[in-house]
């Protein structure tokens, strides 16, 4: 018999951590390959198809970037909360709420000049997401309710509310559950690279801005201190409740932006499928990136490769869409398993 002996050690450096994560991802991809093989498809062909579908053409690459835009937003949303040890599992619902708010302006508001109209929609989207995040925030701060459960339950409610409008007041002329197409004034300009839209620029600017805020301002210092130790934050005179509330609002606003990006940049209307589970995938992005904004861009793109790749696998190799979720979960498990090597010296001993 063998037994595994673990000794706690100083957490490894960021660089080693990255290397362990890359190994873990490689391991997860091997497992996914085995899974694909067990289903009668050649995993090498499948992975090759994924790579060529992304890097093999201008179209493929631009479509991958398109998918990474909402993931950057939701990744940032989850990450900013995670920085303060708050689990926002509700980015999906906040994304929808942001989209609902922005759409409401198109439906009920006047058609304004494009820059003004888009600015208002972006702001409304952020407000919508923040409003939806304010509910779990208040529940946590006032009543100590666990935010994992409250944010998650509210996702279902937000999507129901979107359905309420889509099957009711906002229904298109042909009776299908989507709004009429937005006027030109409510569409993000494109960047002359496939469907990549202005939201990409907003996303990158926010990444830089959040990096500066988190690591180079007093406010960011307070944020991180609240996350690392509530006691220390209290001694430092930080008003923790206020801080938490603010974090929730920012987190919700960022997720709301993902919604605006989808309706103004890609779909040009509100419907039930504006999010491809981006709120949930954002959790993985944030967790993998250890909440560092720049690393979020990297992992958002990495997961977009998977999403885009799996889309084409569906078409070319007839593998169902669920493969994407399965691969994502395997990556999560592998990274979690990798934690072992980050926190402990692992020795395998022979048992006497």
């Amino acid at each position: 018999m063998f037994r595994i002996k673990l000794e706690q050690k100083e957490r490894v450096s960021k660089q080693q951590e990255l290397i362990i994560n890359l190994y873990a991802i490689a391991f997860a991809l091997i497992l996914s390959g085995i899974f694909i093989a067990l289903n009668g498809a050649n995993p090498f062909v499948a992975f090759w198809k994924i790579l060529t579908s992304v890097f093999g053409s201008r179209y493929g690459f631009s479509e991958t970037l398109v998918k990474s835009i909402p993931l950057i937003f939701t990744g940032l949303s989850v990450a900013i909360a995670l920085n303060s040890k708050i689990w926002n599992i509700g980015a999906e619902g906040q994304l929808f709420f942001g989209a609902i708010f922005a759409t409401a302006f198109v439906i009920y508001g006047p058609v304004l000049p494009r820059p003004l109209m888009l600015t208002i929609m972006v702001l409304l989207g952020m407000i919508g997401g923040a409003v939806w995040a304010a509910i779990p925030a208040l529940l946590k701060i006032k009543f100590k309710m666990n935010e994992v459960i409250s944010t998650l339950l509210l996702n279902y409610v937000a999507i129901n509310i979107a359905d309420y409008f889509l099957f009711g007041a906002w229904k298109g002329k042909d009776n299908f559950p989507y709004t009429p197409e937005f006027p030109l004034e409510a569409k993000f300009p494109r960047l002359n690279f496939g469907r990549v839209h202005f939201g990409f620029i907003i996303a990158i600017l926010l990444v830089i801005l959040l990096y500066i805020i988190i690591y180079h301002t007093r406010m960011g210092y307070k944020l991180r201190l609240t996350g690392s130790s509530l006691k220390a934050a209290k001694y430092a005179g930080i008003e923790i409740k206020k801080m938490m509330f603010l974090v929730f609002l920012i987190s919700g606003a960022l997720a709301g932006l993902a919604g605006v990006g989808q309706i103004c940049g890609i779909e040009y209307k509100l419907h039930q499928h504006i999010s491809n589970g981006y709120g949930y995938t954002g959790i993985i992005v944030a967790w993998l990136a250890r909440s560092n904004p720049f690393v979020i861009v990297f992992f958002a793109f990495f997961l977009s490769i998977l999403l885009k790749g799996v889309d084409s696998l569906q078409i070319v190799m007839h593998l169902p869409a669920a493969v994407g979720v399965i691969i994502q979960s395997l990556i999560l498990f592998a990274i979690l398993g990798g934690e072992l090597f980050k926190n402990y010296n692992v020795q395998i001993l022979r048992r006497k």
């Binding site: 673990l6 689990w87 529940l139 994992v148 399965i326 979960s329 999560l332 934690e339």
Partner: protein
Amino acid sequence: MSDLITILFTAIASGTIILYATIGEIITERSGILNLGVEGMMLMGAFFGYFVAYHTGNLFLAILGAAIIGGLMGLIHAFMTITIRANQVVSGLALTMFGTGISAFFGIGLVGKTLKFSIQPIFIPILSKIPIVGEILFKHNILVYFAYVLPFVIWFIFAKTKWGLALKSSGEEPLSSEIMGIHVIKVRYIATIVGGMLIGISGAYLSVAYSKLWVEGMTAGRGWITIALVIFANWNPLIAYGGAYLFGGLTQLGLNLQKFNIAFPIILLKSIPYIFTLLFLLFISLRGKRSNLPKSLGLAYFRENRE
């Protein structure tokens, strides 16, 4: 009147789904392991139970299969959180994604397939003859009756047996438990696996007995509601008993409001279970009573620290 009886009857039938899962999750959490993978485990149970039921036509095998698959999912979570000591929140989320994906992937062939058998209700002699109460409580199928008994059994184990004591103390004070001779790691493994088995059964009950069909993602958030109900029940199986049926009742009431001519947008009614769950949680927090929350819930346990 007959409308009301029907609603209460279905309340029991739908409450049974979350009752099994809630009891399972209580067992797991009492040992100190937080399992947020309920939604995924339930889906796996629902899929695999339906798969076995469809191919064998045997209810017992279907439930057994779902229990085994749920137990295996529990084993994954136990390995990640107890042996590897990974973050319990992330492991649970990964488990939910995994279960959602795998069940959707392998379940494609089952969509639209109907079972060749249906579970017959058993009218309990004498009891089912009682007016109203008999109609509501004693004209169900065997799985519902089993769920009547289960919370009492688990409560008894918790309160009156050595096993229960070992389980609870592992969740409260793992280090002292170890000194008292309790093998905390073993206890937590068993609790997570047994919890997973019951969650698997809840899924099979949903697909095979309640809905009588398999649809991708059919649990529709019931796994998350379960986690909230555990808190509502204050980790006590007997309260879970009432909680699950109350919850089933409220859900049915929501779906039936139209019948009573109460004007309310139909689509928003689908939100009622989620909103009620939030209100439940709010109510618990306002009540502010002593909580049975296991002290070490969600914390990794280091056996090495004991020396």
